[in-house]
């Protein structure tokens, strides 16, 4: 046969043309990354992508420990200055050299991206100025002592000046400005559908197993499970609690999880404006005062809840019941704060003491498309509150409407990712008295204000000694919880299901990073 040698040589040519270990990875994710611009929106889906195209000065490992990133070392120079020494010989994806000047450019840009629905300015709150001492050294001067700065900088993706100068968010989305130093290069971005990345062979970090990675957005949990079972994807994030048993028992699929940083909590408003349409007397009459302004009422609502039952029956073990907002093991978690025990009798007594022996009517709001099982959780909360005499109605809304009207609600369910890995993001952004000048209360939409708490928070965050800072933060956490500022319910567990042969160290910050997905 004459054909044979031709066929053989064609096969050889094909084999040579293909990389020896061409590995593709398909990831099914629930959340939609809204942009490739790493400074556009501080949300987990966006950060998952940004963490692979770009690098940061400091990085966090799966359990939240701080690691060197583009900065090899860093040190405090006096009370108000930090020096970051950069890793040498780092190249951008287009071959240009990375220098300290790119960091200076990044800090300018990240503070204020036009149209950002929630940016990264908060992490740079303390920064007064940045300068490049030489190509490999960055000097950061802070407005006040900022011991948390290296941790905060683990959120700021470093972009290049040569590609980013004058570029806006759409230039990043098109790939034109999406030039990073990260493990993967940008290939394609189709919003709400999929994102494709390809390996950066020159990356300075650990070995990466994949040549091409595709993030496919499958927003329904059932859809992700089905795709996983069918073998359409190699790994999925946040499978529905109800599907876990099925996934675990399927041959060829393994499930891994870790307690996460995200706390789900209820927060009441002490204000008497629009809130009062959602708080009525026991027979539907107007109330002259807001019962939620009374700490005894907030306490009663807290101890009316059986958090363990909610976690067991509704979250089916994909959450950990909690009386504080950080998970065990996190910096400024306190083992002394127990999960509040359910005590309906004591709750009724507290209500009577506060002047509401017959309870009142309350509407609780919940987003129906943001946190897993949240509407079911709030219905269970409503059952428990109704039992102590607070006749509760549940209103569930899509996030887009919910977030716009949030400040009018009497009491609502929210989640917080604790992006600073300690108690401070809740203390500053959610519980701090809303005050732009002082950078406090950026997400405080309940109107809660406690000047003593603000003082304790500020004092705690200026302590350089880690052990002392932790104690001071815990003291502030205790004060906030004793005041019933929020009612923490549980921390979500972060779960991934993957095909046999893959391993992924489950991340406390819920991000799915292809660079860390390994082949056994």
């Amino acid at each position: 046969m004459k054909l044979r040698p031709i066929l053989l040589s064609a096969l050889c040519a094909a084999a040579l043309a293909m990389p020896v270990n061409a590995e593709d990875l398909m990831i099914g994710v629930g959340g939609t990354a809204t942009s490739i611009d790493p400074h556009f929106y501080n949300a987990s889906p966006n950060n998952s992508i940004a963490m692979q195209i770009f690098d940061r000065l400091t990085e966090r490992d799966a359990s939240g420990q701080l690691l060197p990133g583009l900065a090899e070392r860093w040190e405090a120079v006096g009370e108000l200055q930090w020096r970051f020494l950069l890793r040498p010989d780092i190249k951008w994806h287009d071959g240009e050299a990375f220098t300290a000047d790119d960091v200076v450019f990044t800090f300018d840009r990240a503070r204020d991206v036009p149209n950002s629905p929630g940016g990264f300015g908060g992490f740079l709150r303390a920064v007064a100025s940045v300068e490049a001492a030489d190509d490999a050294t960055v000097l950061i001067t802070t407005k006040a002592p900022a011991p948390n700065l290296p941790g905060d900088l683990a959120n700021i993706a470093i972009v290049s000046r040569h590609a980013g100068e004058g570029a806006d968010t759409s230039d990043y989305n098109s790939g034109k400005a999406a030039i990073g130093t990260g493990a993967f290069r940008f290939k394609e971005f189709r919003q709400g559908d999929q994102i494709t990345l390809e390996r950066n062979p020159d990356w300075w970090g650990h070995d990466v197993a994949w040549d091409t990675v595709t993030y496919r957005v499958i927003s329904s949990a059932g859809g992700r499970t089905t795709a996983m079972l069918a073998g359409d994807v190699d790994i999925i994030d946040t499978p529905a609690a109800a599907d876990l048993e099925r996934l675990r028992s399927t041959a060829g699929i393994s499930v891994d999880s870790t307690p996460g940083l995200r706390v789900i909590y209820l927060v009441g408003s002490p204000l008497t404006g629009a809130q009062m349409q959602f708080i009525r007397g026991p027979n539907g009459e107007d109330l002259s005062e807001n019962p939620l302004a009374d700490v005894r009422v907030r306490k009663a609502l807290s101890i009316a809840l059986n958090r363990q039952a909610i976690v067991d029956r509704i979250m089916e073990g994909t959450a950990t019941a909690s009386g504080q907002w950080l998970p065990e093991g996190a910096f400024s978690y306190s083992p002394d704060i127990a999960v509040p025990e359910q005590d309906a009798e004591a709750a009724k007594a507290l209500l009577a003491e506060a002047g509401y022996p017959d309870g009142f009517r309350l509407t609780v709001h919940v987003p129906n498309d943001r946190y897993p099982n949240a509407p079911a959780v709030v219905q269970a909360v409503a059952q428990m509150w109704t039992r102590i005499g607070v006749q509760t109605t549940v209103e569930s809304l899509p996030w887009i409407t919910y977030s716009a009207k949030m400040s009018e609600f009497a009491i609502k369910l929210l989640g917080l990712g604790n992006a600073t890995f300690d108690a401070s993001s809740m203390l500053i952004n959610v519980l701090g008295t809303a005050d732009k000048e002082r950078g406090l209360g950026a997400s405080n939409d309940s109107g809660y204000s406690n000047p003593k708490l603000d003082e304790m928070t500020a004092a705690a965050l200026s302590i350089y000694d880690d052990a002392q800072r932790e104690q001071a933060l815990i003291a502030a956490v205790k004060l906030a919880l004793e005041d019933g500022a929020i009612l923490p319910l549980y921390q979500q567990t972060n779960t991934w299901a993957m095909r046999e042969g893959l391993t992924y160290a489950p991340r406390i910050d819920e991000r799915t990073l292809a660079k860390d997905i390994m082949v056994k």
Partner: protein, 294 residues
Amino acid sequence: MKPDLTSFVRFLRVYCRSPLAVCGLIGTVLVLLAAIFAPLLSPQNPYDLMQLDIMESRLPPGETAFAGFTFLLGSDGQGRDMLSAILYGLRISLIVGIGSAALAFVFGTLFGLTAAYIGGRTETVMMRLVDLQMSFPTILSALLILALMGKSGGNVVLAIVIVEWATYARTARGAALSELRREYVEAARSLRMGHRNIILRQLLPNCISPLIVLLTMQIARAITLEATLSFLGLGVPITEPSLGLLISNGFELMLSGTYWVSLFPGIALLVTIFSINLVGDRMRQILDPKAAQR
């Protein structure tokens, strides 16, 4: 033209010639009775949060509740007895379905009759409005309306009325156009009867047959529409689920083997719609002159 007892009996006799239609009628009556007597038939009031306990959530059919009764069809994720939830949900579905179909019937019919009666350019404008309404996809406009007005039971009814009235208007106008040429209308005109009297006393009774048929069909459609909206999370409040919301609640649990949360409300919805459609179909065969000739 007034319906009297003998003509009703005659109608019933003709109706009963189709065994399938009789099944449909029995089904419809049973569903109606179940909905009306839901509080008496249900072991639990599924809308009273005091009676629910999440510790009893997702129990399979046959388990016994703390309160002593048996979960004949199991319980859902909130510890609601599925049987009670279905009976109460059926009530909401039927009230919303029948209520909105009836309102759309009244408004659409009057609109169509008036248009036909006035005629001329006014009629053209009125009927183009109907065309405009009908050219929008039903679910899309219902979603839009609910997104604008916020969700509540009343708004669901309103949304369905807004998307459904045009069908009645078109049918009423068609029927009225052929009736308007008849002598009795001319007679009424020459007797100087008022416009309102001619429309309501003369035209309406003579156009009613196709509209009644349409109404029966549209009730089933309205129930389906409500179920769809609730399934999409835009219908009734989540603590007072209708059939569509019950199905949606159980949807996420399907893969894990908790079949009863979705399956039983699904069957209830199917039986309801199927029965009403059978009745509607038979009515069309009898009342529609074109179908009767065949």
